[in-house]
Amino acid sequence: MAAIALSASRRSFVMRYPSVVIFIGVLALFTLGVTILAEGFGIGVISTSFVKTLGKTLCLCLVALAMDLVWGYCGILSLGHMAFFGIGGYAIGMWLMYARTEIIVRESLAAAPLPPTPQEISDGIAGQIFGVVGASEFPPIWAFAHSLPLQLAAVVLVPGLIALVFGWLAFRSRVTGVYLSILTQAMTLALSLYLFQNDSGLRGNNGLSGLQNLPGLSDVPQSTISILFFWASALALGLGYVICAWMVSGKFGSVIRAIRDDEARVRFLGYSVEAYKLFIFTFTAVIAGIAGALYYPQAGIINPAEIAPIASIYLAVWVAIGGRGRLYGAVIGAAFVSLLSTWFTGGQAPDINLGFYTVQWVDWWTILLGLSFVAVTLFAPRGIGGLFDLISERRHPDRNGASLGPDPGALREKEADQ
């Protein structure tokens, strides 16, 4: 019996979770296909803007993956992960904006009779960036904006730290369930309201713009840059998927699922529930930050409206429609709903003429989305991912050689197979 158990655990991670292999394969094929069809290195059938849309969708899939881990697996309905996503975008956006403005300012000052002093360059950049909010000096928050490595560290550290502090405060006082959701929503609201002020140091509601222009790469066409970002997003999604799948596969995964199902029982079994929850919350916040840092250079602009609570609610909607508690479900939900959203709100969907009223999808899409969300919650809690169960349930379950029943001497799987 021990030998059987051992052999089960020795079976490779990939063999036990074929969905990971399938997912990576599909993602690789998709990336290859888009690369061939795109303008950058391929035949140019699909436009650069659509490549960007696809790249952004991959980033949204990544943040949905994080949401699934924290909500679908650990049962924490966080309404703050899009805020972490936005913070990641702000962190990278600060460097992009600083570095690009620095190049412009240096060029304009080079024409002056005297070589510029560091102070003059700094003043010039600050004037360019903060002119719109009536300031001309760098706020302290921009202290590291000149350095790409430091800002890249901020992409990971700032969301991580905020999540760590907030999560520690919330979990230690045993705020759970809907209370935690409301509290995270309040945190998101506070953050977006803070960023909306002009003196927040991040240009108020103007946000950061021009992020699609990479400093130093002005000769490289956007078609190439877009495909590079697409690759980076695909790579990040692939890596994120594998890491998340690995995390939820082992004992750790069992514990966090147990926390979702009955937190008190797990606590009585001696696990430190708060530490597990805090780890998952912080880890997913970091993933969200990275996804945001990849998303916003493709979007080109970030402003506080992107952080507003409604964005995090939509994230929950994607995961729920895709099917929570399964990683591919989150990815499918995010890709499906966000692409469908783009199609409907972009005005490409044909209007429906009812004779007395014409349904314009730009106006009615949100209503359809809201109602279908209600319908999914009520009638299909497993979401789109539940469709896969229809296939897999036709095969009898693989119990890794364990007994089929709880009693000693119950029929073993191998025996049953014979």
Binding site: G75, L77, P113, L114, P115, P116, T117, P118, Q119, F166, L169, A170, R172, S173, R174, V175, G177, V178, Y179, S181, I182, L183, Q185, A186, M187, L189, A190, L191, L193, Y194, F196, Q197, D199, P309, I310, I313, A316, V317, A320, D363, W364, T366, I367, L369, G370, L371, S372, F373, V374, T377, L378, P381
Partner: protein, 652 residues
């Protein structure tokens, strides 16, 4: 002697006038004599020289003088070109002029216009006349005219008003006007009186007064000016450099007084260097190396040493210059004793003002609290009593507000429309709530997180639906006229009637809630169902029906709250979303399941938000941010809110 000659001259002129045309019957009437004695100045009509003439007229104090001043001001005074006699004239048909006597205003007849010349006082002179007229108006028989004169003085006081005002206090019979006159007299004394003791007495007489006009009268008296000298003069207040006064400002004053050379700012330094570029070098240093401030300063120093630039003022120079002089403040608005008295009075006022402001702030906080309470009370029922998370609660508030807007489209009378809107809003949102409970929520009673998600879906859909129907721009919900204006306690404490109405409405809601929950069959059944639905149903209560009604009741109250909030703010499709987080915070902070907790929570959230806004008035966004952070921290210490349920109910 001179007067006699003048008389004779007047008589002669008069005779001439009589012979030529119809003129004043009583050419030697006192008023005509008075006018003639200043005839030259009046006819010259120059602002610089007219003063004595107006003063003389004003000093005579007769009704005739008043009429003359008024008609002069109205450009109705003419004089005969030959005789110089003054008359009132009105242009008649055929280029003729209807003439009236300056004494008494009786009609004289008509005369050709060409014989007369009109007096056309410019605006400066008209202003002087108006000031002189004030004294007549102050003693006018009609109290309304006297009040208008006082208004004019309050608006635009002048030195000359003081004497006139003082003279008019004695005869005043109307007590209100008399009190007003005395008050204005003291204000004018503070501003214009010659005697310091008199001014100080007037200032002291105002103790306890917080009005804006008193502060406006006192503030110019305590104006100070920064001065600099080598020695400190007597009774001047020293200003220490580096403490009350920044180094740069102090040095700027020295420069302004030519006591020190101007500092070399980076701009001039740069320009001087550019002006001295010779080929690739400035003063023997390569241009390319001048990319730091130190390098530039060094080259500038070389230039200055060779006489090609103003000497560089170093920090040491600045410090040395500042040490040589002493900076002090002198009063410029009034002599020192008066200024000191005014300062003391202002300090006193400020202390009292701070108290009033605190009261005002508390009132503001209370009214914000009642708005939050209104927004949250529906939630206190659906979330607090039933434990159902309704994220579409904000949209029910919005629906109520839009119901009010639609009612106003059909019923133009604002009072009636509001009275109609309240039950209608309740009916509409009650229906919406019941529909939502039947269709969505009842399937999810044991899955709170899913309820939250499903109601989010409803909220998104309802918000967009409102946008599709009513558009994105804000719609007005107009309050009835009797709610306009505000209840004023003093110059600082004021509260608008609409806020009072919202407060009253909040209190009514509280009473209704308490009555329904504690005194009706429905409330009893609701409490039974929420405590133990199975036991309740075995007692013959239908939990489905009760849940439906309770949810509808909570939603209906949200609709009425929507009408109230719509009166106070604009109606938009996003108004509900603005309140939803605060409402949940209010309920959570107060303690779920207890209406008094919700009340306390709303009070805490409202007053704290106003308090934070007061600390940082420019920024309501920041106030909301800090408020939410505070709540997050507050929940650390009292996770179950201010009033926490104890025992088994808390576990449910």
């Amino acid at each position: 002697m001179f007067v006699v000659i003048r008389r004779i001259a007047t008589c002669l002129l008069l005779c001439a006038a009589l012979t030529s045309t119809a003129v004043a019957k009583e050419a030697d009437a006192p008023i005509q004599t008075l006018l003639q004695s200043h005839g030259a100045e009046i006819k010259k009509s120059s602002r610089k020289s007219i003063g004595p003439a107006i003063d003389a007229l004003a000093a005579s104090g007769t009704p005739d003088a008043q009429t003359v001043l008024e008609r002069w001001q109205a450009k109705e005074m003419w004089f005969h070109k030959d005789s110089g006699l003054f008359v009132f004239g009105q242009e008649a048909d055929g280029g003729d002029l209807a003439l009236f006597d300056v004494a008494g205003g009786g009609e004289i007849g008509t005369a050709p216009k060409k014989d007369y010349k009109q007096l056309k006082p410019n605006s400066g002179i008209r202003g002087m006349i108006a000031a002189a007229l004030v004294q007549f108006q102050l003693n006018a028989p009609d109290p309304a005219t006297r009040a208008i004169a006082l208004d004019a003085i309050e608006r635009d006081a002048e030195v000359s008003h003081l004497a006139a005002l003082r003279a008019s206090i004695g005869p005043e019979r109307d007590l209100t006007l008399k009190a007003r006159k005395e008050r204005i007299e003291r204000l004018l004394t503070i501003r214009f009186a010659e005697d310091d003791a008199e001014r100080i007495a007037a200032i002291r007489g105002f103790s306890g007064d917080l009005s804006v006009d008193l502060r406006a009268a006192l503030n110019p008296l305590v104006q100070t000016k920064l001065e600099v000298a080598t020695d400190l003069p007597a009774d001047a207040k020293v200003v220490r450099v580096g403490k009350e006064l920044a180094h740069d400002e102090a040095y700027a004053l020295l420069v302004e007084r030519d006591l020190a050379p101007p500092r070399t700012d980076p701009q001039t330094l740069r320009e001087t260097l550019i002006a001295n570029i010779e080929g690739e070098e400035v003063a023997g240093v390569k241009v390319a190396t001048l990319d730091t401030d130190d390098a530039r300063a060094a080259v500038y120093a070389t230039l200055a040493a060779s006489g090609n630039a103003q000497p560089l003022v170093t920090d040491a120079d600045v410090t040395g210059a500042l040490e040589r002089y002493v900076f002090f403040e002198v009063f410029t608005g009034a002599p020192v004793p008066v200024a000191l008295a005014a300062q003391a009075a202002l300090h006193d006022i400020e202390a009292k003002l701070a108290l009033s402001q605190t009261v005002d702030l508390a009132l503001d906080g209370l009214s914000l609290a009642s708005i939050y309470f209104l927004a949250a009370i529906g939630l206190a029922i659906t979330f607090g009593v039933m434990g159902v998370i309704n994220m579409a609660h904000g949209e029910f508030i919005m629906m109520g507000a839009y119901t009010g807007y639609v009612v106003q489209l059909f019923v133009p009378d604002y009072t009636l429309s509001i009275l109609l809107a309240i039950p209608l809003a309740f009916a509409v949102t009650f229906g919406a709530g019941v529909a939502m409970e039947r269709l969505v929520i009842r399937w999810l009673y044991h899955r709170p997180l899913e309820t939250l998600l499903a109601t989010f879906g409803v909220s998104i859909a309802l918000q967009q639906l409102a946008k599709n129907i009513f558009g994105t721009q804000a719609r007005p919900l107009t309050a009835p006229g009797w709610l306009d204006g505000s209840l004023v306690f003093n110059d600082v404490i004021a509260i608008s009637y609409i806020r009072i109405a919202i407060f009253v409405l909040a209190m009514i809601f509280l009473a209704v809630f308490l009555f329904v929950m504690n005194r009706t069959r429905l409330g009893l059944e609701v409490r039974a169902v929420t405590q133990n639905p199975r036991m309740a149903s075995s007692m013959g209560i239908n939990p489905d029906r009760i849940n439906m009604l309770t949810f509808g009741f909570g939603s209906g109250i949200a609709g009425i709250a929507g009408v109230a909030i719509g009166l106070y703010a604009k109606v938009t499709s996003e108004m509900g979303a603005d309140y939803i987080v605060q409402s949940f915070m209010t309920v959570v902070v107060g303690g779920v399941g207890n209406i008094w907790g919700t009340l306390l929570g709303a009070t805490l959230v409202g007053t704290l938000q106003k308090g934070i806004e007061w600390l940082n008035p420019s920024n309501t966004l920041a106030a909301q941010t800090y408020m939410i952070l505070f709540i997050i921290l507050f929940i650390q210490f009292r996770p179950r809110g201010i009033i926490a349920l104890k025992g088994r109910a808390a576990e449910a």
